[in-house]
Point group: C2
Chain length 481, copies 2
């Protein structure tokens, strides 16, 4: 009998091939257990509000007023909203052509793109052009748009760090391109060695792949490292030499938990390098309202900025963006607010600073509690989370555990994470979902559970882990780094 177009065997193979572990087997099992009444701690995805983080008050007040503009004419509005939120709502509504219910330009509201450009100028000390900034429904959508322009077929390769956030591997599969991995060095705190890059490119070329773009995630996901200025300079020089577009995933730029290596943007480093680099290297940088101390994931707001991309190509990207009409307008306003928060002297300033500092300082403490917790466990070693929202401990599985996983038909770290989930309710993502060296195993967890629950969670983890290790540890040694 002939197949129908939406029968499994007749689907687009690229759809079937792509994998997205953050919402994969572990997440699905966790959702089942939750339905059955088990208490689940979802640390599989960086979703702060789902774990109790409160939204920042000021931006929510502004967007609520934009949703209900009729309140602005209500004499009682001042009883529920401060004057600066009212003024800001009027400002943002004046940037729209019909409020939150009207499609904006497909690149986003011009007025918000101008605010983003001003933010980038303040951050980097170099000019930024609003015409080269596109707002998106979250950073992921932007990454997908750019990769769609770059990838023409399986002969086109994209350099992606391993371990990586699986948005990249999944999107490259979906678009039918080739992922060219470069390995981060766990023993050097997930550092990036340019010699590895060269090897990866040489190997890809020997297989007939034309490497066209390189992805960096800074601060790292799932690995939590912050790239140094010197390292970024090497990367940009490499992209110049190899004619690669650099995709700079900088969505965690507000999430920094140490003082030695503050965030520095790829754009700033590139501009600092001067000619010919600053005029030649093609760079697309991504940002979001989902991370930082905002954590407004569900709003789906982001932007990308293009550097050294020819106008004709910018037009093509604009054209493709216009097929889906426009990014959602309320998230565009969140983006405007994120890049121009309350200023000293504003009524809401003190509260905004108190709330945002509270979140960031707590995340810094949680990063430490988690790293220390993991490092106190048997057969677990973990680099410190310098930035981003994740801990990525290495789990040194004894041969007995690897054997048991095989018998259960599971990848070893999937086996471990499933056992962890069943025993403790902690929902993580196995390292195999991000890529890792052969025979080395990890898991990713967010550092987002509420600070007061953190000691209990780490305790519960340690109890499970140490029992697991004792059970399977048969003195035959364990997997090595």
């Amino acid at each position: 009998m002939a197949l129908k177009a939406l029968d499994y065997d007749s689907l687009n193979e690229n759809v079937k091939k792509c994998q997205y572990a953050v919402r994969g087997e572990l997440y699905l099992r966790a959702s089942e257990l939750q339905k059955e009444g088990k208490k689940i701690i979802f640390t599989n995805v960086g979703n702060p509000h789902a774990l109790g983080q409160k939204p920042l008050t000021f931006p929510r007040q502004v967007v609520a007023l934009c949703q209900a503009p009729f309140l602005l004419d209500d004499p009682n509005v001042g009883m529920l909203f401060p004057a600066d939120a009212i003024a800001r709502a009027k400002h943002y509504l004046s940037l729209t052509s019909g409020g939150l219910g009207a499609y904006s330009d497909s690149r986003g509201l011009p007025g918000v793109r101008k605010e983003v450009a001003e933010f980038i100028e303040r951050r980097d000390g170099y000019p930024s052009d609003p015409e080269l900034i596109f707002l998106t429904d979250g950073a992921s959508k932007g990454v997908m748009q750019i990769l769609n322009c770059v990838i023409r077929g399986d002969g086109d390769g994209i350099l992606v760090p391993v371990p990586q956030y699986p948005l990249y591997s999944a999107t490259i599969s979906l678009l039918g391109g080739s992922l060219v991995p470069y390995y981060l060095d766990e023993s050097e705190n997930w550092g990036l060695d340019v010699n590895n890059l060269r090897q990866s490119v040489a190997q890809a070329r020997s297989q007939g792949i034309s490497v066209r773009a390189m992805v960096i995630i800074n601060p790292g996901n799932p690995t939590g490292q912050c790239l140094s200025e010197a390292n970024l300079r090497e990367i940009l020089r490499f992209c110049y030499n190899e004619k690669l577009v650099l995709l700079g995933d900088e969505v965690y730029q507000q999430n920094i938990y140490q003082d030695e290596r503050p965030f520095i943007s790829s754009k700033k480093v590139l501009m600092d390098m001067g000619s010919p680099f600053s005029k030649e290297v093609q760079l697309v940088s991504f940002h979001t309202v989902s991370k930082g101390y905002w954590g407004e994931c569900g709003q789906r707001g982001g932007y990308f900025e293009m550097t050294n991309i020819p106008p004709r190509v910018v037009e093509e990207i604009y054209k493709v963006a216009s097929i889906a009409l426009s990014p959602n307008v309320s998230a565009q306003i969140f983006m405007g607010l994120m890049v121009s928060p309350p200023k000293p002297g504003d009524i809401s300033y003190d509260q905004f600073i108190r709330e945002s500092k509270g979140i960031l300082e707590s995340l810094r403490r949680r990063a430490k509690i988690m790293t220390d917790g993991f490092n106190s466990c048997k057969n677990v070693v973990c680099n410190f989370t310098e930035g981003a929202m994740y801990s990525f401990p290495q789990i040194r599985l004894p041969p007995g555990a690897i054997q048991a996983a095989k018998q259960a038909g599971k990848v070893p770290d999937v086996f471990y994470c499933l056992k962890l989930l069943e025993a403790t309710g902690i929902s993580t993502v196995p390292g195999s979902g991000f890529g890792q060296k052969e025979g080395v195993f990890h898991l990713r967890t967010t550092i987002l559970p509420a600070e007061e629950e953190m000691p209990e969670i780490m305790d519960s983890f340690k109890k499970f882990n140490d029992k697991f290790m004792t059970q399977y540890d048969n003195n035959f040694g364990y997997s090595r780094m």
Copy 2:
């Protein structure tokens, strides 16, 4: 010198190939003129709020409260919000796991999907399964997801009506598939003749194309016709025989301006047909919060419902949806509100009915004013807008005008629409952006300008058109239907 990945000549050819006229040359020129200070009437896109339509009060109250949940604890909240809006906000917040700032399940909030299923059951009189309903960032995103599953390469063909909404042609180009056109019959009020479908499929097959899916837009965009039940039955039987997935674009189902042919869903007709059809024909139906009397385009909310799609394929679609994490949550709540508006007896019921009836009745009057206006113009003939939001008059261009267009290097209807724009500020989309028979010309305009401005706009159109026609009418006859 070697190309960089984001140089024009090295872009993905499918990106370059796709065209989206709704935001094409005419829109770009109109935006320029607006910047120069000219008053532009944007009728290029169905964007009601941009043309002054006010949002419905109740849903905006509910979503504003969801954005600012701290107001729910404020003793003064009742001074600005009615009790039923407060209760609804609490209800929707209880369906989220962390409010509007948390990612939802990638298919959308289970509670909202349940409300959508209940709406479909009430509408059609048949069961609907929330597990087969996915919420999306607008209907367009859903269409793109499904076509991405269906299209494997340029040997895969999608039957698309001509004229069509260019979302379809653009997405098929972007995904590297083949558009297989079937012509709607203008002289039969844009009716769909199944014999034409057969011819289109036969012709495609003779070119080695495997036809896999068929798109219907009901009510029609840009053509405004409503499909009859008998016609839908023929289409579904055709899809059964040819093993085609039917994509039912039903985003205008609330926009009906006559009583002879009320909207009837593809799902209901399919279920009415009984076995084997109701168990075999694969159907995906799309809906949105952007149209109807809501017009909440900027919120980006939609859903699709799948019928007869195997569970394993539903899982694949879920997996791909999860790469971009989740649709924006506030639009999911708009969707919930759209499918479960205030009920008789609710505090907000009367106001909601007054507002929504006001919008729909005015649209009905505007549809008539516009059709009559076009039909009073020289060399213009126009079918009545039975539904949707558009008028699609045929413009019978005299040979002199076609000649002048050629000299200007323009497609004749682009030439006409540009002249119209420069003379009157009315921004339309040329018929060539939607597809039309060789040598026949149209334009699409929305029926959305404010009712009180409509007579002046039609007057301004008529003055321009009749002058244009007189100028170019050289008595050699004009282009024929």
